[in-house]
Symmetry: none
Subunit: 528 residues, 2 copies
Amino acid sequence: MSSAKSKKIHILDTTLRDGTQAEGVSLTVDDKLKITRKLDWLGFDYIEGGWPGSNPKDVEYFSLVGKEDLGTSRVTAFTSTRRKNTGVSEDAILGKVVEVSPQACCVFGKSWDLHVKTALGTTLKENLAMITDSVSYLREKGIEVIYDAEHFFDGYAANPEYALRTLEAAAAGGASFITLCETNGGALPHGIYSAVKDVAARIDVPLGIHAHNDSELAVANTLEAVRAGCVMVHGTVNGYGERCGNANLISIIANLQLKMGYECIPPDNMKRLTEVSRYIDEIANLVPDPRQPFVGNSAFAHKGGIHVSAIKKDSSTYEHISPEQVGNQRRILLSELAGASNIKLKSREFNLDLEKDTEKVSSILRKIKNLENSGYHYEGAEASFELLMRREAGNYRKFFDLEGFRVIIESEEDGTLRSEATIKVSVDGVREHTAADGDGPVNALDNALRKALEKFYPTLKDLSLTDFKVRVIDARQGTAAKVRVLIESRDPGSEWGTIGVSENIIEASWEALVDSIEYKLLREESSG
Amino acid sequence: MSSAKSKKIHILDTTLRDGTQAEGVSLTVDDKLKITRKLDWLGFDYIEGGWPGSNPKDVEYFSLVGKEDLGTSRVTAFTSTRRKNTGVSEDAILGKVVEVSPQACCVFGKSWDLHVKTALGTTLKENLAMITDSVSYLREKGIEVIYDAEHFFDGYAANPEYALRTLEAAAAGGASFITLCETNGGALPHGIYSAVKDVAARIDVPLGIHAHNDSELAVANTLEAVRAGCVMVHGTVNGYGERCGNANLISIIANLQLKMGYECIPPDNMKRLTEVSRYIDEIANLVPDPRQPFVGNSAFAHKGGIHVSAIKKDSSTYEHISPEQVGNQRRILLSELAGASNIKLKSREFNLDLEKDTEKVSSILRKIKNLENSGYHYEGAEASFELLMRREAGNYRKFFDLEGFRVIIESEEDGTLRSEATIKVSVDGVREHTAADGDGPVNALDNALRKALEKFYPTLKDLSLTDFKVRVIDARQGTAAKVRVLIESRDPGSEWGTIGVSENIIEASWEALVDSIEYKLLREESSG
């Protein structure tokens, strides 16, 4: 490992090109510019922004990105080789690339003899000429060229000699890197390792790897390719991409840089990985995967009682790296599997100082076990848990008293439904009786409650509910089943989750709503 | 590869034990029994059901699962070794295992000298005795023992000789398998390969591998361990588990069995993988990951224009396996052609004879696409789908007309909630206006609707609602989000599922309720 110390790995991000092939991912030009800036901030070497020959949106992107003042990243286009039997300077698709004048361009071509014949319908010789011509043409125009050998590993298995000759054709054209593409995502790590070893022994141009995750092996295949000699890695942030996605750069960079002695981005930027991952999910309008390695919200979350007590003694017992290294954080979860040590840790977090009050700790623990038996589940509802602990610990004041509410859902003559909530609350003896409509009964209640309380607590205007989950607990009871409602809330400073459980979905939602509001008021009071 | 042909790999599923350590996963005893039956149907060798020493729910599971008539799976408990410096027969936790008498038991112990000293606070020698004693004690009670060497790879790196001695201690106790656990999920594939090679040269007992996904390498680490000699694999369905999850058995089995020549489950069961994956997500109330390798809804979905036309010529151009091999299907996105053939197939199933009515088929298809865009999802709601097709096909009569309803949810003085529904329906011109209470608004509506209709259709007495699921579709809308309600119903003859979607949970539930009742009446009419 020490011989590879600090060896540079060139990162080519294709979130904006291959990543947008993912089902459900669609980025505007403005989204693409935002992501470009963020990836540059992280320190990627190449950002593949699109295929100017394929659609006008990508042409617009290149014209706008030229005005950006980027630091480390080279903006890169994508294109195919020239068409068969045409002069390279007359090729319309390559012409589009020259027009947008990117700093670099990935040119993809065929490595698999079968595809040359069936998909391109040309000769093996013409395919080699198409590769050399296209690469050298763009080089002459002052554009750096990275050659992408599509289906390389399948082609190499079918006809190794011809596959290698396609790479030599790219080298002859002046490619600065040659990328071996595992296009179908079906290869296994040990197969990748030995094929890359063979290629590295024959080809002098620096090699890259481009892997897909169809076998849940894209990260491993990439690491093995690097071990075998590749010095460039293609992938996408969070593994976006067609089918099961491209290789996930977040995990690849973390493994290469924290464990294998390579340098992909400036070391000080490693702690930006979590922020970049979540930012790009946000722009792409995708819910972040809590289980995502390194950067997910659950990646350093501990639930089992044994684990929690061990983590307290030494975090390396159940953590492979320290979460701060990638800008993430450790979380201790609450669950039926946990014991007194969790409660004590939490009380410290909440400044409740219960560590020595064994009796109170075990009364809280009993209360939680009872609540969990009746369907409560505090993992996603830390704020409700904190309120519960504070109420049990005895240092808690009520911010408002609920005197009653009523919700009416009624079908109008035209078949549409109207939902109205009326509510009576009092704050320090002042009663407020108000009503509101909503999209459904829970939304009506939410609106009525805020309307009543905003007079007393104007900062509630900043509170927004960002997530609302409903889980039926004992489904066999049919419509009389118990439901669990989880609500996530946010204000400009933070996010929190609350819970309610009842046979009545309105009551469960109400409980979670009230906790959310109380939690916000509590935090403001203690910080103010 | 041919030498490994059909070599048996023993699968131990720990979805019910390690999988429930995942944040957001909480299974009832009934859920666990359902999952057990499904995993047995798939053909797993061992199902680790829980830790009887840790909580009463797991004890209940073992007492109930004993009454199940399972085919291939051995139900397996989990436990630690005995405590230090105590007689093994007095150990309360091991005693719990004997009490529930599982067919097999995983016993976990320490391999890392540092942990023996710091976490256990005992001597290296006593730890070896704890391992041997615990294994042999359970063996004497007639229970097969699988020994789990926790933190094996870290322990082996720190003190290889001692780590190997812990395995020998388990072998001496009579363990049938010794599992090397990569507990922290930090190891790399090539490191796993060489460590397992070393161990296999020294230990005669068959070896297993237990990996976690903290580095996005759990599947690769497992495959490398098998290549190096492991014959048992631990993991969870869909990779549930603490932090970033356990090794995903779905991907592991698909790789080992379809690409590497091993046999994990009966070959005919491979096409059950997709169904099992989605079923377990459903039971755990998790949204299936569309990008999940092999079984995800997007795993064989093609979007890029080039890919789609190539796939039409030869599916192997962009698919590493054929989707049917794992029970999944290819999807061409944004193509209307795929749908029409499905509609025709369905119309035949429902005796609707639409095969030649191209216009009607495409109007149904358009309607379905619109509904799916607005959140409908007919996989679990075939009855609603049939009703939709019949309504569109024009041969459908209404069994009742709904003239209106109202639901009131009101807090009483003592804080409890009362839910009342009133409803007006007419059947063949006869109007019924009635009211009912319920446990929550949906139950009240359900009660009122049946009360009104049973006078006209007495067989509705046989109808029971067996399942009620709620999923929030666009959670970011907070309490104004759209919800999808799925209801499963049953009568003495059959079961069926219906769906409703709305911003208003009452309306969504109502829609699914009405479909359920109409479907029952329709079936009786056509059979009677």
